[in-house]
Amino acid sequence: MRRLLIIGLPVAILITAAWWFLVVTPINDEIIDQESQLDVLQTQEASLRQQLSALRQVNDRLPEYQRAVADMQRSIPPTPQIDSLIDDLKVLADDTNVVWSAVAFSTPGEETPEGFRTITVNMTVTGQYFELLGYLYGVSELDRLVRIDTLSFSPSLTDEGFNEITLTINAVAFTTGSIVVPEQPEVEEPDIPATTTTTTTTIPSSTTTTAGG
């Protein structure tokens, strides 16, 4: 019995240690790994549920979102649309009875971090004080977003003795796109047959070329 204890106990301890390190520890590591994966996936599930709920809410109001986006794109259009901007500013000048004497537009600048480009608009308009006031209010109410950064007034007297003001405006319009140069359509090369000239030369068997002479 004593011999059994002396031999058996260390062997049992050795086997238990080997079992622990070679069998149990790797399984435990795998379990821990799986549990941490589960934690990550559960957090992901919460986030996905939140996203889904938010998207379902948006989906319920999809037409309203699309209308809002279209409205905002009228403020900052995806292309420069200088033609319609000129139309808008000119119609406004006519409506407010100011004389629109000069305008200059820059090309769209570099894209800002928010994703739009600025087009500087320098204008000179002339009119009476309250007409110019109407023009400034009108510019801020255009569908197209125009921000006035600098303005300067210089009054003068007309030949008829009226007080007239020349207003110089430096403004900025916005676009999310730049100038688009349409791609040139590929011109198909006409199917000209290759200049293959077939020359048949018949060399008389009796020809003899003599160098020198």
């Binding site: 999809l62 809002a68 950064d149």
Partner: protein, 208 residues
Amino acid sequence: MRPINLLPPEQAEKAKRRRGALFGVFLALAFLALLAFFTFLKIAQRTAAEDAVIAQQLTNDNLQRDINSLGEARQARDDYRRGEQQIMAALAIDVEWGRMLNDIGRVIPDRVWLTSLSATASPPPEDEPIPSYGALAFGGSAFDYPDAATWFRTVDSVEWPAVGGGWVSSINTITAGDFLIVQFSSSASITGAALSDRALDRVPEIPE
């Protein structure tokens, strides 16, 4: 009564060793069975954890599929947010010039008239305690010095909150026809009260 063992002592010793060996074998088998039992438990635990991960992955995949099916809604929401940010950024320093000029007409004192005005809106410097959103420069005339002083007081008054920090750069007397009048040039800063709230109007609100 005392037990009497009739076996020879060698036989008794042999039987005792056999019993000891059997007991040892039994103990070893019991020990191995115990280890096998705990190993089985651990493997079952690992399998359960793996199954839980697979089930969770499946749930997440289904949710992701549902989200992907709402691609149009996501696009609309992203476009809306982008548009909102763009308008907010574009109008961050948008001065309401119409109101500003209207205010000038409202607050300018009698016996004073402006001969020139230039204004520039600009983002406020970061380290300024009271942010200024640009500057105004006025040139004007008045009948007398007290009239000009009334204008300078107006620039800094609460009556006209869109402008502050007025300063006179020059003031002098000139002759206009048969009269002596005062000519001045002054400047002021544009305050936050001059900014428009166009950005809020431009972003269509969608009720929750």
